[in-house]
């Protein structure tokens, strides 16, 4: 049954909002044959994720999704069967009025932020009744079966497996980015917010016994990287060598290529929400730079995830892994915690694979949303 969906995305900062909603929109079209309109209030944030897109177009079709500029002055539009308000972005008043007037009520979903905290399962799927009679449902992504799950395309792990089994594909991908890593180098991707702990981590890798090749897509960490390198700029593709560490800047790549990058690396440092989830599907050890919140609320969320994630690791490996994440998010000295993780590398690597497999046994977020709608009508 084909339903119409309106997904609203307000770009607040960075690429998390548009990253999640664009991925969801594509999956609803490709795997569930739904009709999807994606409303974006800042098309400039969309173009890096979908380079074919036209930032100036009011309406365009990309990969089966109707992508629309969310105008400052809302004009009358037909309301979809399912309305997704991503991250409580506040629907236009005109659209709310149209929802009220709709003969058959639309399912209004507030797609919330990802969190591993216990309270999430108790709030997932609950309604929110408004004084005007409209009802909004709260939908929470999550890591346990009593939540909405994580975004994951049906064939994602098969595609990853095929990529991993094909050394030429990996080589071709990396060469396409201008990456020619030493055959025994540890390949690490780095996507993070500004972090005062970076210099100490780079020092530790430069002083390491084995070679490390660090791949840094364009982003907010670049300033700290240049400062450590002692240079003004690092043109894309060029390589800087410091001791055992090779550093290379990469362009901001589209979502499909970012997956390839994660699958190519032995370790991925990620940030925010979308890249954090994709790094888990890569089945490689990861380091999460969480979005900082007022009153240190992000620490509770970080620890809630760690509590879940480290189950099954030996106490020593869990301590090392947790220590690394804490140090990174505190912007503190990374040397000791990085070296501790290296001591447990095989165990932490195997665990990342196991975690990925466990998570893949749950329904994915797009599937859960479609099912939620079917149960609702």
């Amino acid at each position: 049954m084909k339903a119409s969906w309106d997904i609203f995305c307000s770009v607040v900062d960075n690429y998390g909002d548009i990253g999640v909603t664009w991925r969801l929109a594509r999956q609803l079209v490709a795997e569930h044959q739904q009709g999807v309109r994606l409303w974006v209030d800042d098309m400039r944030a969309f173009v890096p994720l979908c380079p074919e897109a036209d930032a100036g177009a009011a309406r365009q079709w990309q990969q089966g999704v109707e992508v629309c500029q969310w105008p400052a002055q809302w004009s009358a539009t037909e309301v979809a069967d399912v309305v997704v308000e991503a991250f409580a972005c506040k629907l236009p008043e005109g659209y709310l009025q149209a929802m009220k007037a709709r003969e058959k009520p639309a399912l209004w979903i507030n797609l919330e932020y990802l969190s591993a905290e216990d309270w999430v399962s108790g709030c997932h799927g609950l309604p929110s009744m408004r004084p005007d009679g409209l009802k909004r449902m709260f939908f929470f992504p999550g890591f346990t079966p009593d939540t909405g799950g994580l975004l994951r395309e049906a064939d994602l792990l098969q595609r990853r497996h095929a990529f991993e089994q094909d050394p030429q594909a990996k080589q071709a991908f990396l060469q396409g980015l201008g990456v020619h890593a030493h055959s025994n180098a540890r390949l690490i991707s780095l996507f993070a917010y500004e972090n005062t702990g970076l210099a100490s981590w780079l020092d530790a890798m430069a002083a390491g016994t084995g070679p490390t090749h660090l791949l840094v897509p364009q982003g907010r960490i670049m300033g700290d990287l240049l400062h450590w390198l002692g240079i003004e700029q690092l043109p894309l593709g060029t390589v800087e060598q410091r001791g055992a560490l090779t550093v290379q800047a990469l362009p901001f790549v589209r979502q499909e290529d970012y997956d390839h990058l994660l699958w190519s690396c032995d370790f991925n440092a990620v940030r925010g929400e979308d890249s954090f989830v994709r790094a888990q599907w890569a089945g490689r050890p990861l380091l999460w730079h969480i979005y900082e919140q007022e009153e240190d609320a992000h620490w509770v969320k970080l620890n809630a995830f760690l509590d879940l994630y480290v189950k099954g690791l030996s106490p020593q490996a869990a301590l090392a892994f947790t220590g690394l994440w804490h140090t990174w998010n505190a912007g503190a000295d990374m040397a000791q915690s990085w070296n501790s993780v290296l001591q447990h590398w095989p165990e932490i690597t195997a665990h990342a694979r196991r975690w990925c497999l466990e998570q893949s046994l749950q329904a994915d977020l797009a599937q859960a949303l479609v099912l939620f709608y079917r149960n609702w009508i």
Partner: protein, 190 residues
């Protein structure tokens, strides 16, 4: 108007023209500095109960309620009888109507509470911001800490558990903040 963040037990909001009593409200931080409030609501006309989630900045129409001072008279099973301190009228409430404050309601308490009325019917009771209760059981001080920063579990007479300063002993009277679900404030002078 009230925002989602301002909801608390005892608040009555109007939804589709019906009055709904907030019996429980749990505030949690969501992502990117946003927050949500999970509530347990009771329809005051039909008695129907439901759980509802609000964003912290959702706007809701609240119902102006009458408030009077009342004290607990006695407890009989799940029924709690409160007395209007001005005209001595007795009012009954079920345990679930005062679920949010129940952990700190105990026989013999003398707190002057705020009784909340909707159309002359008592619908809920709010405790004072600070209440004083006696510790019924706690372990001895483990570390001899006197700073008040080291905490340990303790039990009140009605079985409610909470964290208290390490130096608190059995029989001590303590001050409790009821606004945040019952946190220890300090030792009371009785």
């Amino acid at each position: 108007m009230k925002t989602g963040k301002e909801l608390k037990p005892g608040t009555v909001i109007k939804l589709e023209n019906d009055p709904w009593l907030v019996q429980k409200a749990e505030f949690t931080k969501s992502g990117r500095n946003s927050a949500i409030m999970k509530t347990k609501l009771k329809n005051l006309l039909t008695g129907y109960k439901t759980e509802i989630v609000y964003s912290a900045d959702d706007k809701l129409e609240d119902v102006i309620l009458d408030r009077k001072e009342a004290t607990l008279s006695f407890i009989s099973g799940d029924t709690y009888t409160f007395m209007d301190t001005t005209d001595y009228t007795m009012y009954e409430l079920n345990a679930e109507d005062i679920e949010a404050v129940l952990p700190f309601v105990e026989e013999g308490m003398t707190d002057v509470c705020e009784a909340i009325f909707f159309e002359d019917r008592l619908v809920s009771v709010e405790l004072p911001t600070t209440i004083v209760r006696q510790v019924d059981y706690t372990e001895g001080s483990a570390r001899g800490d006197t700073s008040g920063k080291v905490m340990k579990p303790a039990k009140l007479k009605n079985g409610t558990e909470l964290s208290v300063a390490d130096f608190v002993e059995i029989g001590d009277w303590i001050e409790i903040d009821t606004r945040d679900g019952g946190s220890y404030k300090g030792r009371a002078k009785v």
